[in-house]
Structures are given as structure tokens and as C-alpha cells.
Symmetry: C2
Subunit: 70 residues, 2 copies
């Protein structure tokens, strides 16, 4: 696994953990952010490489600072 892939995988695990701690399904979460559910699934599995603005959107929805997701 490349360093970049590791970064995406670690980010995805963090997002999943925070989302689950709120008791939200991927669908609930996708609705809050305005991103498609399958995209959230891809992020959580580390298959997607989110942009800075998507990282900010996700952080805002989870009520954490963007830096806490990295």
C-alpha cells in the first residue's frame, strides 16, 4: 500500500468512527453533507481521495475541526 493510499485509508477510518459514534447511517450522513451515499462509502473504505473542501464539509457535519480528521 502506497503512502497516499494509507492517508486515504486512515482518513476513511476516522470518518467512519466519528459517524458511527453519532449513530448515523451512511445515508443519514450523506444527506447532511449533500454528497452521494456511495461516495461516502468510498471515502470510508479509503478508495476515494477527498479534496480539501470535501474534508471541510465532512468535518463541519461531524462537528470537528478539519485537522482532527487527518
Amino acid at each position: 500500500m502506497k503512502k497516499q493510499d494509507k492517508a486515504c485509508a486512515a482518513f476513511g477510518r476516522r470518518v467512519r468512527s466519528l459517524r458511527e459514534s453519532k449513530g448515523w447511517s451512511q445515508e443519514d450522513f450523506a444527506d447532511r453533507i449533500g454528497i452521494h451515499r456511495t461516495y461516502i462509502g468510498g471515502i470510508e473504505r479509503g478508495e476515494r481521495n477527498p479534496t480539501l473542501t470535501t474534508i471541510h464539509k465532512i468535518a463541519r457535519a461531524l462537528g470537528v475541526k478539519p485537522a482532527e480528521l487527518l
Copy 2:
């Protein structure tokens, strides 16, 4: 300015400040990261929306944690 644009602008200012503190030109920096100089310029001006893996590459080159750039 949208929240997203603000996020990119703040990121760009932070990158420029750290790069300049090392005395590197955009060209020096671009060579270290393996990203084109004009792309670095766009990031520093907040015109580009970098991905998570690009944020990691930039942080590694600057010797900081990715979270410190956000």
C-alpha cells in the same frame, strides 16, 4: 467568498508562509514535491482545491504534519 473558497485560501496562505520560511522558490518547492510550479502557484493563491494525498505530499515536503496545514 464561499466557505470552501475560504478553506482553500487559508490553506494556500499557510503553504506559502511555510515555503517562504524555508527560503524556497515555488520552483524549488515544486521540484521537491514533483508537482508543476503553476499548480503550486494556484494552491498558494487559493485557486486550487487540493486532494488529501496532495495535502500529505505538501506537508511531507515542508516537514510538518498534514493537520498543521489545515
